[in-house]
Assembly symmetry: C2
Homo-oligomer: 117 residues x 2
DNA sequence: CCTATGTATTGACAGTCGTGATTTCAATAG
DNA sequence: CTATTGAAATCACGACTGTCAATACATAGG
């Protein structure tokens, strides 16, 4: 796995001088990076990623009691993962009687999807 | 923030019976979910996400000594983040003399990008 | 009211993560 | 060779994560 490198030949620096010219770095990226990292972090668990996958395919149609048996995890653990997704802004929930229905927040994945693509 | 829900009316289950019909779940998703979660997890830190961003824009052109001053972090910490990215398969490195040049592995982001998009 | 059911929260625990100080390795210049 | 520089590894430590058991909360039925 090789990539074409356009390498400037470099020599040992003369002791005391900075190693290299600092790459210009747009500070405006920071907030965006933090937002996207929050989303990525929430997706950084296979369970949560599968939860999002299921919710995207069955938005508002599956209650938590249907999600639990999919993962061989306890109900509190699934509830915890849903909470993590909710706090990251990826999902929302509606309650209908005893049951809670989750859905992926529209557009929540858009920014990072664009950046990745 | 509301989503159109197609809810089947549900009634309290008759005690002893399973809550709901289990949603069919393709087991083939599991490995894919784990691969994508690994990538997402590696991107789940603002520093690493920005590292990837810089490397995508300057592949093979920036040495580690140029990356360090961008983040107000110690050199070992930046090196650590690069190692995390390397172990997740997101980046590779080439060494030219004293300097190490990193690049984003082509295609490493493709799978999750497609899934997100 | 009381009871049962679905969901959320709390407490506890082992494991992992992000960071820096220090050390070690690698490679160049003299 | 020695000295110096860039990069990686090691060690340590506080903070956070994923999990479950137990508990609490919310709602519906009787």
């Amino acid at each position: 796995m090789s990539v074409d490198l356009a390498l400037q030949p470099k020599t040992k620096r003369p002791a005391g001088e900075p190693c290299c010219e600092p790459v210009v770095y747009p500070d405006v990226e920071r907030e965006k990076a933090e937002r996207m990292a929050t989303v990525a972090k929430a997706l950084g668990d296979p369970i949560r990623l599968q939860l999002v996958d299921v919710l995207r395919k069955h938005a508002g149609q599956v209650c938590v009691c249907e999600l639990v048996p999919l993962f061989d995890l306890s109900q509190p653990t699934v509830s915890h993962h849903l909470k993590v997704l909710r706090e990251a802004g990826l999902v929302g929930s509606e309650r209908r009687g005893l049951w809670a229905y989750y859905y992926v927040v529209p557009g929540a994945l858009a920014e990072i999807a664009v950046w990745l693509g």
